[in-house]
């Protein structure tokens, strides 16, 4: 969520912002003109995340949803890696260091495990329902 928030805050200043977003400072920078820095990585991460969420929300195919999840996780991963890099930050600014990369590795590991479990569930679901349409997977509704 932090990433999402930062993403919102990184919109180009040329594009008029709604008043409500004017509260978030854009650090006085323009991504289109500035050299590649932290902000650009964050924008890539945000785009990935958003694409992932959209994918999850819109796809009816369970495998598509799994892919969306991968996108979301990897969007976050990019943020972690970007925050841990000393090259992308100004001199003297604290970074996440190795911690960010370790967390990214954890997330990859987690994504792999999650994918294994999710695929097993999907397979089972297919065996029972002869489909992978998540809209028809509403057996657990209240």
């Amino acid at each position: 969520m932090m990433v999402f928030g930062v993403t919102c805050a990184c919109l180009p200043s040329a594009i008029p912002l709604p008043p409500c977003l004017g509260i978030v400072p854009l650090f006085g920078a323009n991504p289109f003109t500035d050299p590649i820095g932290l902000i650009h990585y964050l924008i890539v991460g945000a785009v990935l995340f958003t694409a992932g969420v959209a994918c999850m929300a819109l796809k009816r195919n369970a495998l598509g949803i799994l892919m969306g999840i991968e996108l979301v996780l990897n969007g976050a991963n990019i943020n972690f890696v970007a925050f841990s890099s000393p090259y992308l930050r100004a001199e003297g600014t604290p970074t996440l260091g190795l911690d960010g990369q370790v967390v990214a590795l954890f997330v990859i590991l987690l994504a792999a495990a999650e994918a294994a479990v999710a695929l097993a569930i999907t397979l089972n679901f297919y065996n029972n329902h002869a489909t992978v349409d998540v809209d028809r997977a509403d057996d657990l509704k209240g």
């Binding site: 919102c8 998540v134 809209d135 997977a137 509403d138």
Partner: protein
């Protein structure tokens, strides 16, 4: 083992055996043999054991104190039978002392002591102990022998109780009869407890113990009279017996309290306390050895009734208490002469006698005994004729040294009234057991009268012989009832042919009770001797006190009435033609187990009064136990100053003895002839006689209206008062409590309303609200994954937007 320690052991064991039997039957009753049949065996074995032990005690007593004839001319000779050796064995010395004025200056040979001390403090002591003299030994043998006979007899008589019984005398509300399991073992259980209690009275070494066992025999009597307790009449009779006895026991308690409070002891004999201090017993306090056992008011009673003067003396010497006490001791003699304590002694004696009036069914408390015949016949024979009712006479005999001449006169009159009233009622009774019951009351009256006129020996002698022939008579009547299934003599008749053993033994019993004998040869059945000695003593008494000669007429008239009603009974039952053929056809001789005891008792009814040529006999043995100082002529010195209670041995004087014998013979013969004339020869028609004196007949047939009078005087007022009390209870107290309950109920109803509407509503409302919320919320859970993702995404956006709006400054910060 010398006699001193042997006797308490033997008799103590004989006393406790029935208790053991009682305990065994109590805990193992129904499991003893088939339907509890073994209970009879256990109880009989126990009582036979007691009898054997008593017999051993009897033999060792006789070996130690040979029973010899008494030479009447010499006062001291009364105790000649006592063996001089027993002085060394610790018995009270019984060698004859002074002659003439001082009389028997020695206590009778006895053994006394305590087994167990219940309480000891100061000069007061309560204990379980023994007082054994010739009377005790004799009573033990008599009681255990009769009890043995009756146990054997009852094991046949109570045979029906071995199985389930349909009691035809109990009508249930549905019109049927009561059907109940047999109670064979219960009968023998109560019988064993009774034997234990009765022997306890006899062996008791002090009045407290007597009282304990006195009450125990009372409760046993209650158990046994109420044996068929489903019958209203039986349970009523049991309650009546118990309540009437309580009235007498109240008097006894007064007597006990007077003695206990003033003398601090209830022991008969002297006893040694734990501190080695000798406590004087009742006997030596009332008749101190140093005055030649002459009766006097004990110091304790004098000081007790002169309490205010004692206090005054002590106050005078308040500075020196020791001198004060000495002064009191010195003045006791003066106070005694002034008459202090006489009333108390009289009250103590009459109080104890009150208990005896209840237990021995004397006027005015005799009404319970005839009703007590509701119990099974063996019970009537053992408890209500031979032993328990004799306990009162026994106690008067035991307590005799303490009774003043005034008390004795009261006793004599009570006995005379009793014997006359009950004999007249017996004349017209038709129930065979009731005739015997009234006869028992009458004979008990004889004994009391004998004791009252100074015939200590005569009374107790009659007690022993009467026990034998009256238990015989009751067992015979039981045999008849067993055969005829009715108590009504008007349905009997002619049974002598079908029941030869019963009729023969009963004839012996009848002859014994009327005192049949040959006057000049001096040979007769047991009753002859005992009744003659009573008559002789009464004759002597009325000669000494002409104003009281009515006592002699009562005895003589009573003898005639006895002869009449006993032979009326015998003739109606056994002689002549059968009145009811239905009854007669079913009649049969009883089984041997019931006949053997009859024969054994019949033999004793004949011989128990005899004195063998060597002098051995019950009378002479009883003489050994005569309380010290009671063989003398006593003069009334208090209420009846002219009263002379003559010495008993004077009644053996030739002219008195012969006159008494002749009177006895003549009255008895008249009675028998009259009965024969009415019921055998039919010269006189009983119905015509009854019609001729109809008011008298009705009066007697209604038993002098005693039950009605008591009902009117005591029962109805008590019932009325109870009704009043119960009215107060029901009308006032119950109303009040019901009101309280009603109030509480209203409050509770209000509480319940609050609970149901308010509290329950709150709880249920909460539950419903929760339920509805859940029901509505579950619709959100659609199961659509994509929707969830949308919610998450949009929710996150919404949260950020809200956070941005609300916390603008902090985030901007």
């Amino acid at each position: 083992m010398d006699l001193e320690s042997l006797l308490p052991t033997l008799l103590g064991l004989a006393w406790l055996l029935p208790l053991a039997s009682f305990v065994i039957i109590l805990f193992a009753g129904p499991r003893l043999g088939d339907h509890g049949k073994g209970a009879a065996g256990v109880a009989t074995a126990a009582i036979v054991g007691s009898f054997v032990l008593s017999l051993v005690a009897f033999v060792s007593w006789v070996a130690e104190h040979p029973v010899r004839a008494v030479a009447h001319g010499d006062h001291g000779e009364a105790h000649a039978s006592a063996d001089p050796a027993h002085g060394a064995t610790g018995h009270a010395p019984a060698e004859e002392h002074g002659h003439g004025e001082t009389g028997h200056a020695a206590a009778p040979p006895h053994s006394s002591g305590d087994w167990y001390t219940l309480y000891e403090g100061g000069r007061l002591k309560l204990s379980i102990g023994w007082y054994i003299d010739a009377l005790t030994v004799l009573m033990f043998v008599m009681i255990t022998f009769i009890a043995t006979c009756i146990h054997v007899y009852a094991s046949g008589y109570m045979h029906d109780e071995l199985h389930d019984i349909t009691d035809h005398e109990v009508h249930l509300s549905d019109g049927g009869h009561l059907h109940r399991p047999g109670r064979f073992h219960r009968f023998f259980q109560a019988l064993s407890l009774f034997c234990f209690s009765m022997l306890g009275i006899v062996i008791a070494g002090n009045l407290a113990m007597v009282f304990i066992f006195w009450e125990l025999v009372g409760i046993c009597s209650w158990f046994l009279i109420g044996f068929y307790y489903e019958r209203k009449s039986a349970s009523n009779a049991a309650n009546k017996a118990f309540i009437v006895n309580r009235i007498g026991d109240f008097g006894m308690l007064i007597g006990l309290m007077a003695l206990w409070g003033a003398l601090g002891t209830l022991h008969f004999a002297d006893s040694t306390g734990a501190d080695g201090h000798v406590r004087q017993g009742l006997f030596s306090q009332v008749r101190p050895p140093d005055t030649g056992h002459f009766q006097r008011v004990p110091d304790g009673l004098v000081k007790f009734s002169a309490a205010d003067r004692v206090a005054a003396v002590l106050k005078e010497h308040a500075d020196d208490p020791r001198a004060g006490v000495e002064k009191v001791e010195a003045k006791v003699e003066d106070w005694r002469d002034e008459g202090y304590g006489r009333w108390l002694l009289l009250i103590a004696g009459l109080g104890i006698f009150c208990g005896c009036v209840g237990k021995s069914a004397q006027f005015p408390l005799f009404v319970w005994l005839p009703d007590a015949m509701e119990g099974p016949t063996p019970v009537s024979a053992l408890v209500h004729s031979a032993t328990m009712v004799a306990a009162g006479v026994y106690l008067v005999g035991r307590f005799y040294p303490v009774l003043t001449p005034d008390a004795l006169l009261v006793i004599a009159y009570v006995g005379a009234i009793t014997l006359f009233i009950s004999a007249t009622i017996a004349l017209v009774a038709n129930d065979i057991k009731r005739v015997l019951a009234y006869s028992t009351v009458s004979q008990l009256g004889y004994m009391m009268l004998a004791l009252g006129v100074g015939g200590w020996l005569a009374g107790l002698f009659h007690l022993v012989t009467h026990a034998f022939f009256k238990s015989l008579l009751f067992l015979c009547s039981g045999s008849v009832i067993h055969a005829c299934h009715t108590n009504d003599m008007r349905k009997m008749g002619g049974l002598a042919k079908v029941m030869p053993w019963t009729s023969g033994t009963m004839l012996v019993g009848c002859l014994a009770i009327i005192g049949a004998g040959v006057p000049f040869l001096d040979i007769g059945l047991s009753g002859y001797y005992s009744k003659d000695s009573i008559l002789a003593q009464a004759l002597l008494f009325s000669r000494e006190n002409p104003s009281h000669s009515i006592l002699f007429y009562a005895v003589a008239g009573g003898a005639m009435l006895t002869a009449f009603y006993m032979f009326r009974l015998w003739f109606m039952t056994f002689a002549g033609e059968p009145r009811d053929h239905h009854v007669h056809e079913h009649a049969h001789e009883s089984p041997p187990v019931m006949v053997y005891p009859l024969v054994a008792l019949a033999i004793l009814a004949v011989v128990s009064g005899w004195t063998l040529p060597g002098g051995f006999g019950i009378a002479n043995m009883l003489e050994q136990a005569r309380p010290a100082g009671t063989g003398e002529t006593e003069l009334g010195r208090f209420l009846f100053s002219g009263l002379v209670v003559p010495a008993e041995h004077e009644s053996h004087a030739h002219d008195i003895h012969v006159t008494a014998s002749l009177v006895a013979f003549a009255t008895a013969a008249t009675g028998v002839l009259l009965a024969a004339a009415m019921y055998v020869w039919r010269v006189i028609s009983p119905a015509a006689v009854a019609a001729a004196v109809k008011p008298v007949y009705t009066f007697l047939a209604n038993r002098w209206y005693f039950d009605e009078i008591y009902r009117f005087l005591f029962v109805l007022p008590v019932l009325g008062f109870s009704r009043l009390v119960s009215g107060v209870d029901k009308g006032l107290i119950d109303r009040f409590i019901e009101g309280l309950a009603w109030g509480a109920k209203q409050v509770a109803g209000f509480d319940a309303w609050i609970d149901r509407t308010l509290i329950d509503g709150l709880v249920n409302g909460t539950a419903n609200a929760t339920w509805n919320a859940g029901y509505e919320l579950k619709k959100v859970q659609t199961g659509q994954l994509r929707q969830y993702v949308m919610f998450i995404a949009l929710g996150t956006v919404a949260i950020f937007v809200l956070a941005g709006l609300l916390f603008r400054s902090s985030i901007a910060g």
